[in-house]
């Protein structure tokens, strides 16, 4: 039996050319194969695109170092809130989220941005998915920190609307100027103006996150920012 098999193998080797290059490529493909992590696998299922999922897990402002830095700032905010009674978490969370969103995708931020501009997975989708992920994660981190700081419920959720506006403003500026730094500067400056104006008008630093009359202006800025982003990415980023 074994003899028959050896004979058959010899015959096959003698009569058929074996393409060793093809064999090696198949072996290499298995040996070099990368196993996606659980988050990437989940994102791939949800987004129905392995490319988008991979683009999501490479977001610069979702990397571990960035998350640690954001958490440290929010913990400092929790401690400052406990000490002073002023809701510092609610005041700094929108700015942190805006910085993260501005650094989610773009020239100078994503090393392979130029190359990614020629890919089938569209820029706009990458930008959208990354921005939403950064926003969602910052919303969760900020909510936890705000709850831990013992702030009133109105404050805990009051900053989510301004955060949306500040993030949209930062993203719009970063997209139009094609610069994350310009996005950060615009978002943070806009938020500072809102906070300082709130204090000047009502005499409380927290007015920017607790005054319900500001909800409509915040939403207007958020919608306007989103519209600008959609317009600026309507074909591609080459218009200059």
């Amino acid at each position: 039996m074994t003899g028959d098999r050896d004979h058959a193998l010899d015959e096959a080797t003698r009569t058929h050319d074996v393409d060793l290059d093809r064999v090696w490529v198949a072996v290499a493909a298995e040996v070099w194969r990368r196993r996606p992590g659980p988050i990437e696998r989940l994102a791939g299922r949800v987004l129905r695109s392995p490319g988008l999922a991979r683009a999501l897990v490479t977001t610069p402002s979702l990397l571990l170092g960035w998350l640690i830095a954001s958490t440290v700032v929010l913990v400092a905010g929790v401690l400052a809130t406990h000490e002073t009674g002023t809701p510092y978490v609610a005041l700094c969370a929108p700015a942190i989220a805006a910085v993260g969103i501005a650094y989610a995708y773009g020239p100078g931020t994503d090393p392979a941005w130029e190359l990614a501009g020629s890919m089938a997975v569209s820029d706009r989708m990458v930008l959208l998915v990354r921005a939403l992920a950064v926003f969602g994660l910052n919303a969760v981190l900020g909510s936890v920190a705000s709850a831990a700081s013992g702030a009133a419920m109105a404050v805990t959720f009051g900053w989510l609307v301004p955060m949306t506006a500040v993030c949209a403003l930062a993203l719009a500026a970063a997209t139009v100027a094609r610069s994350a730094n310009v996005g950060v500067a615009t978002g943070v400056a806009g938020w500072l103006i809102a906070v300082v104006s709130g204090q000047a008008a009502v005499g409380r630093l927290a007015a920017a996150v607790t005054d319900s009359r500001l909800t409509l202006p915040y939403l207007t800025v958020a919608v306007g920012g989103a519209a600008v982003v959609l317009y600026a990415t309507r074909t591609d980023r080459g218009v200059s």
């Binding site: 290499a28 070099w32 990368r34 490479t58 392979a112 190359l115 020629s118 890919m119 089938a120």
Partner: protein, 248 residues
């Protein structure tokens, strides 16, 4: 024809980077020559659908890149190596090439084998698991070429592909170019005249945003006859003669 450009222009701020280019390119290796600032990179970026033309018409692989759906189709069949290849330092060679295979929406079942084949083709098999931050400039260039060819593109655009390669690697790369050019349109932008002479069947020379010569390398060489054009090689003298004539 895989590339058809008609009166194509591209303005960058106040600069007219591409000023009315009309060209048709079919299968084979096509060289795009010209001095720095001639508009080669801008023309290539338009062909790579990274930037839109300011005016004129462009058709790539029979599709119109200004239409979203058709642009997506083009991008699935396109390979592009930019002049400045950005990379993620923590990625390995395989991870980087695979990332762009996924962004090109290659079928998942084909990705791993295609990545391995592309990495082997550029001679980086022994560095497949190395982080990009540990590679030399020439190796990074080859990683860029690997991501460009991973999807077996029908239109391959290479901007200064031999920059940073040593002579042995350049010879191997020219052989790869000729191989790729048998089944696809390969457009190589370079200022190294010898690369064009060794690998390209046709060549265009750009200056100040315009195409001032289009033909075969032999025809370009022939343009030096009867002139006092300077250059160390016949093709270089042809290049100098055409440029001098265009600027006179």
């Amino acid at each position: 024809m895989n590339v058809e450009a008609t009166d194509l222009t591209r303005r960058l701020g106040r600069t007219q980077a591409v000023a009315g280019v009309t060209i048709a390119i079919g299968d084979g290796v096509f060289g795009l020559l010209g001095p720095n600032g001639a508009g080669k990179t801008s023309l290539l970026r338009m062909m790579a659908t990274v930037i839109p033309p300011t005016s004129g018409h462009l058709r790539l692989l029979g599709c119109d890149p200004s239409e979203y759906g058709q642009r997506r189709q083009i991008r699935c069949r396109l390979g592009y190596l930019p002049q400045n290849l950005g990379y993620y330092p923590r990625f390995t060679v395989v991870e980087f090439v695979e990332y762009f295979a996924l962004l090109k929406e290659m079928p998942a079942a084909r990705v791993h084998r295609a990545v391995a084949y592309a990495v082997e083709r550029v001679g980086l098999g022994d560095k497949a698991k190395a982080r990009l931050s540990t590679l030399s400039g020439g190796m990074l260039r080859r990683v860029g070429i690997a991501q460009a060819i991973v999807n077996d593109p029908q239109l391959l655009l290479l901007d200064e592909p031999t920059a940073g390669l040593d002579p042995e690697q350049r010879i191997a790369f020219r052989s790869l170019l000729r191989d790729l050019g048998q089944q696809a349109t390969v457009i190589v932008s370079t200022h190294l005249v010898e690369d064009v002479g060794a690998a390209c069947a046709r060549v265009a020379l750009m200056d100040r945003g315009k195409i001032v010569f289009s033909g075969t390398p032999d025809e370009l060489t022939g343009r030096a006859v009867g002139t006092d054009a300077v250059g160390d090689a016949p093709l270089e003298r042809g290049y100098s003669a055409v440029l001098a004539q265009a600027r006179s």
